[in-house]
Symmetry: C2
Subunit: 213 residues, 2 copies
């Protein structure tokens, strides 16, 4: 099974690595033969939004198919402008059993034309941006529509990937994987959803994201 | 503020990247001046246990101090045998305001002599291994002892880092960071702790980890 993790400048590392360590450890947890690919426009190292610098293992030109595609979010503006991620997604999506995204990665799926009129989710602050590209916004944390699965912001990729493990390998494997990564979350606050966080906290994060633009 | 993230061969990427995206985004979320360092024995790219290949930004020889040190877990056998991580931890720990670990990263802290007789935690399957190195095992998900904070397995690094954000910058910032990464966890099962998972699932994961040795 070929797992393709997409890299582009200014991606958010946790969007990538949550699903990576859930799916990529199936060799250990389930003795599955999984091949992990990190695919980018070139083999030059790609820098995340906070400086994690990752070396691609292959390129969009070289990798023509994958069983599972994972598109992380981040600051997608360069990737949208370049067009290479979207072009590759259009090419590889028909070959994939599952095409997935985390956070604003769904904006790249939408740009590739994969979400037109389809239910999908993204980071809570970018729901309008995704809707403007033709998707029907869901506020669920993990949204499955046929073979496309989109996840909400950043950390939601872990829940998405556990859902995918269950779809592919069943309930027991999902439980084993959850135990393997000791995913018994205990956030210090209950502020992780826009519907739950104090209004001033929401405003502060929106202002911070505005400074990014 | 200098944040040092330790790299060594066969580290588990999520152990590193959970804290990275919580702490490293304080520049965006809180307009803090945080400098993120990825420190390893050399500047050669370092490969995680499932193949994420990360380029260090500095080396143990070059980075003599840090405000926050984060030691990820993973398969720590090479790092223990080499001794360079432990030697650097002994050197840098006195300079740090916070020294932290995720998962089996605490075994490296213990090997450096930082946990002798002190409460600490690790991945549930490695509690004995940590106890054998002199720590007093806690089964809490995040354990603070003075300026040392240890976290349980893999995904617990996110909770640890949010706790640290609150200790450094306060409750509102912790909430904003949680909202920024949309950390409203919804695992498909309640199997993330050894006390909660079905016995056959626990046995399966222990067998898988045994194959690793």
């Amino acid at each position: 099974m070929d797992l393709a993790f997409v890299l582009y400048p200014e991606f958010t590392a946790l969007d990538l690595v949550g699903p990576l360590d859930v799916l990529g450890h199936q060799g250990l947890v389930g003795q599955e033969e999984v091949r992990v690919h990190f695919v980018a426009a070139t083999r030059e190292p790609v820098r995340s939004d906070v400086g994690l610098t990752v070396t691609p293992s292959t390129t969009f030109d070289e990798l023509a198919r994958a069983d599972v595609v994972v598109v992380p979010g981040g600051d997608v503006r360069q990737a949208l402008a370049g067009g290479q991620v979207s072009a590759w997604l259009r090419e590889v999506h028909p070959t994939a059993t599952w095409t997935t995204s985390v956070c604003t990665g769904s904006i790249l799926l939408a740009d590739a034309g994969l979400l037109a009129g389809r239910p999908a989710t993204t980071h809570w602050a970018f729901r309008d941006a995704l809707a403007q590209r033709g998707a029907v916004i869901s506020t669920d944390r993990v949204v499955r529509d046929g073979k496309v699965i989109t996840a909400a912001g950043v950390s939601a990729g872990i829940d998405m990937a556990l859902t995918l493990v269950e779809l592919i390998w069943g309930e027991r494997r999902a439980q084993a994987t959850q135990l393997f990564i000791e995913y018994d979350p205990q956030p210090p606050h209950d502020a992780g959803a826009v519907e739950k966080a104090p209004a001033e906290v929401v405003d502060g994060v929106l202002a911070a994201l505005g400074r990014m633009a």
